[in-house]
Subunit: 155 residues, 2 copies
């Protein structure tokens, strides 16, 4: 069962390359063993650096279910999710993830996530993309508004 | 200059809460000191767990520039980017990031990224969302197709 969905994601990823739609990656999301999203990496053709297969699949599955949570869903990815996609997987609260290639396979063909894993672990001021915390008197005002907003949708 | 754009992102974030459009976060992207994207967190109203302010701003800025790279752009965020948004910042290759609140301020109002930072640093099999690497004979076929595709758009 799990292997079958992974095989489908691998086939989709290969097709994605052959049709020149984007990078060699695809992801499938299932709920109750039914596919609710089958998506590929479309970074280059959609001019969207966030359009990794896992992100496009999460967005599609959420649109299908009309929900910003995927608690009872399983994600099948042709490759181990990068740190951005891992973050998205946690925010979407997926139940389980299966992947076929790992980060080391991906690095061999030029998709090396090592740098991003290393950077995320560093304090902001030590990263190679310069990140500065500027302290402002008003900085907390959105959070104060959030705490006092009575009809907010928590998440 | 930088403080002014941060102040605008803080004001936007506060407005976002008051209009019930999403979480207390906003981000602005500038190129040559001109705003090309000013976006907020719309997770709950768009049913998209990836729709953090930084991600929506990166997508908007890329659409505006018709590019999947933002090398000469600066991102101003009302709050320190979470690991998902950090990943997106690296993939978009932004030049610089400024932020007003930090992860500790965010944690105090219920937006705690610590768990995600910790999980990303763990090997997949040790994470709380179960992640399994299933090895399949066909797993590398998308990568082989990628390497032999002559007219691909590298990224």
């Amino acid at each position: 069962m799990h292997e079958q969905f992974l095989q489908q994601s691998i086939a989709l990823a290969k097709e994605n390359v052959q049709s020149n739609a984007g990078g060699p990656f695809a992801a499938i999301i299932c709920q109750n063993q039914q596919i609710i999203a089958a998506c590929t990496n479309i970074v280059t053709t959609s001019n969207d650096p966030t359009a990794h297969a896992e992100i496009t699949a999460i967005r599609k599955a959420c649109a299908t279910l009309n929900s910003f949570q995927l608690n009872d869903c399983i994600l099948y990815s042709s490759c181990e999710p990068c740190p951005m996609c891992l973050g998205a997987i946690y925010w979407a609260r997926l139940q389980q993830v299966y992947f076929a290639c790992d980060r080391f396979d991906a690095a061999k063909v030029g998709f090396d996530d090592r740098f991003i894993y290393d950077e995320i672990a560093l304090p902001p001021e030590q990263r190679q993309i310069n990140m500065q915390h500027i302290k402002l008197a008003t900085a907390l005002s959105p959070f104060i508004a959030w705490q006092t907003q009575t009809d907010k949708i928590p998440y």
